[in-house]
């Protein structure tokens, strides 16, 4: 029994040995996605590892150019398609329900797309084809994976529209996307994504283009539907408020790498990485009077072609000189366990991190 509990303690450590059978429903291991361009190699994702269980929500947080969107496209196998994808270099593993996708036949991945994994996008107006009705687009999504008549598929489409809270679905099914309001469009988009009961839903900034009141509706809807369908959700966002609202686990990305990962409660309670602190300090909050200044992160996000050596965050990190020697500039920090299931990639010692957070950062937030 004692031995068992010992091995049990290992659960949640970074999954590193490549050929292990996956434990979680979605497991990404050491994923690298590089795009060769005329200016150099764009390392959009550079060694990313995470997992999501069914019924759980992982929020991937990061700024533009952190690689969060490419990660989601890579899981879907969409990064290969399109103009930029021709020469993409990709390594690592993506396990979805026991199937490995990185080295799988592209047509096999295509068959999974839309059926086992589906995706919703930031701007539902541009993400829907302007020339086809909402119904047609949902019918198409359904009939791609189900051999049914158009009539059956249409009934299914109406049912889904009803399920996502579109009034008079029987009538609205024949509307065009531009005839819907922003919130309705995102609902329709969700209906389209969920029409095949996918087990993984990836949402790339699903509420960024929406008003707050509509955002609240959509987040509620995603949460309800997840409860109903039990699917795993990967939600990509830059808004820590949304993360706090919906996430079970959080993954903070910076420069194509993961800098912090853990349960939402822990990451918000005791954030470990200076970049996470920076994000929290940059955000004005609606629930408090902040007469003082915001604490921005200095400088600009890194270029993915010339990711800074060592820790990618070191040029912007106020604590980069704290660790001895030149370690922050030369050595790339590995993810290390802080607490159960909570990891960070930072050269600061745990004592320093705890001290800085409790003494310097937290009081100012």
């Amino acid at each position: 029994m004692t031995e068992l509990s010992k091995t049990g303690a290992a659960v949640g450590e970074p999954v590193s040995s490549p050929s292990d059978a996956p434990k979680a429903f979605l497991e990404v291991r050491d994923l690298k996605v590089h795009f060769p361009t005329d200016d150099g190699l764009v390392k959009s994702v550079d060694g990313l590892t995470f997992s999501v269980e069914k019924g759980k929500t992982l929020c991937v947080v990061g700024e533009s150019g952190s690689g969060k969107s490419v990660t989601s496209l890579a899981i879907m196998g969409l990064h290969r398609l399109g103009a930029r994808g021709k020469n993409v270099q990709m390594s690592g593993e993506i396990w979805l329900g026991g199937k490995e996708l990185v080295n799988a036949d592209p047509d096999e991945v295509r068959k999974l797309r839309g059926r086992e994994m589906a995706m919703i996008f930031q701007d539902p107006l541009s993400a829907m084809h302007p020339y086809y009705t909402i119904g047609n687009q949902i019918v198409e999504a359904y009939r791609t994976h189900h051999k049914v008549s158009k009539k059956v598929a249409r009934t299914r489409a109406i049912e889904m529209l009803d399920r996502v809270g579109i009034p008079e679905p029987g009538k609205r099914v024949d509307s065009y996307p531009h005839e819907f309001s922003g919130g309705m469009r995102q609902r329709a988009m969700i209906a389209m994504a969920l029409v095949n009961n996918p087990e993984l839903l990836i949402a790339d900034e699903p509420t960024t283009a929406l008003d707050v009141t509509v955002q609240a509706q959509i987040l509620d809807l995603i949460r309800d539907l997840q409860k109903e369908f039990g699917s795993a959700v990967v939600l990509i966002t830059h808004d820590l408020g949304v993360v706090a609202e919906i996430a079970d686990d959080v993954l903070v990305m910076y420069g194509g790498r993961c800098v912090e990962r853990g349960s939402a409660d822990r990451v918000f309670e005791r954030p470990q990485h200076p970049y996470t602190w920076g994000l929290l300090g940059s955000m004005p909050r609606i629930d408090r009077e902040t007469s003082e200044r915001l604490i921005p992160v200095k400088g600009q996000p890194p270029s993915l072609i010339n990711v800074p050596s060592g820790c990618a965050f070191h040029p912007r990190c106020p604590y980069a000189d704290l660790p001895k020697g030149n370690v922050t500039r030369t050595v790339r920090p590995e993810l290390q366990l802080v607490d159960s299931g909570h990891y960070t990639a930072c050269h600061l010692s745990q004592e320093d991190r705890t001290r800085i957070w409790t003494e310097e950062i937290a009081p100012k937030l």
Binding site: G82, A83, S126, H129, P130, Y131, E140
Partner: protein, 335 residues
């Protein structure tokens, strides 16, 4: 929608009126501004060595001594109710719609136009089908594999196609396929008489014309497709798990082709007004040739007739294009 069509039709009618007035004014006023008198103008209508009395009679009968707006009014009236021209010794009647009477060729303009139109129509329609199909196909394939061998080759050929003048490609085609290896016929045969022969004769002309246009269309399609394939809705279509072919045709091409409708409509309209060079190169007796004849002979009624016909086709093509566009793109509301 109906209100839109009504409004557009009214606008088209007004536009045609303006075009006719401007053309009329140019051809009636310009000679006068250049110093020609009504006498000299009248002289053109009679032939060799006219007497002074003849000139005065013609001038009066044709209304050349009247102000230009009165003359224009007579012209418009002729379209509606026909006109009679008194040339002294002879009187010519021109039935409605009378778009003028050529005193040089002694023929009314309208019957000439109607008899020549089928030839121009045959030329334009055949070429249009050819260039649309080949241009779009080449454009799509190039767009899907940008910077590939195919793309570079065809874009090179396209560039050549655009830059080579019609009288070069046309004459080359004639030389090779009609004279050196006489595969194709030389004289135009109406479609109703013998469709095979009709196509056979027109084929070299179609190809020459299509080479020019398909080059433009291939480039248009290519850039349109490149842009469309980067759209978010294409990513959505792929995320559904559609096969790439379906993504390209159903989602990409559909959106990329719509703007091409506009260009196509305009091009076709222009061509129907007379493919001047093509018709002269291939000795087709179409509207274009009629226009050239009119210009070389300084025959005003002839030029005026062709100009109005061309304007008519362009305006109609424009209207059709707008309506087609609305049918293709539900976001466009005609109001």
């Amino acid at each position: 929608m109906i209100s839109y069509i009504l409004r557009r039709t009214a606008a088209a009618a007004i536009l045609l009126l303006v075009v006719s007035a401007v053309t009329f004014a140019i051809f009636f006023l310009l000679p006068r501004l250049a110093g020609q008198t009504a006498d000299q103008l009248a002289q053109q209508y009679i032939g060799k060595s006219p007497t002074k009395a003849d000139i005065i009679a013609v001038k009066h009968n044709l209304g050349l001594d009247q102000p230009v707006y009165v003359q224009y009014w007579h012209f418009i009236k002729g379209i509606v109710s026909g006109a009679t021209y008194d040339l002294g010794p002879t009187t010519v009647h021109c039935d409605a719609p009378c778009f003028g009477y050529s005193f040089k060729t002694h023929q009314a303009v309208w019957p000439q136009l109607t008899s020549r139109l089928p030839i121009t129509l045959s030329l334009a329609a055949g070429a249009a089908v050819l260039w649309l199909v080949s241009g779009v196909a080449i454009g799509v394939i190039s767009a899907l594999k940008p910077r590939s061998f195919f793309d570079r080759t065809f874009m090179g050929v396209a560039l050549a196609g655009v830059s080579l003048p019609m009288f070069f490609t046309g004459n080359l085609a004639l030389l090779l396929f009609t004279y050196k290896w006489p595969i194709f016929g030389r004289t135009y045969v109406p479609f109703m008489e013998n469709p095979a022969q009709w196509a056979n004769t027109l084929f070299p002309a179609w190809c020459s014309l299509a080479l020019l246009y398909s080059a433009i269309y291939a480039r248009l399609t290519r850039s349109g497709m490149l842009e469309t394939m980067n759209e978010d809705f294409i990513r959505t279509a792929r995320a559904k798990g559609l096969r790439e072919r379906k993504v390209v045709v159903r989602h990409g091409l559909r959106a990329a082709l719509t703007p091409i409708i506009t260009v196509f409509g305009m091009d076709l309209g222009l061509l129907l007004g007379g493919a001047v060079i093509t018709e002269s190169v291939f000795s087709l007796h179409g509207v274009g040739e009629y226009a050239v004849d009119g210009i070389t002979d300084n025959d005003l009624p002839q030029i005026l007739g062709v100009t109005l016909l061309a304007a008519f086709f362009v305006v109609i093509a424009n209207l059709l294009v707008d309506m087609l566009y609305a049918a293709a793109d539900p976001r466009v509301r005609l109001s």
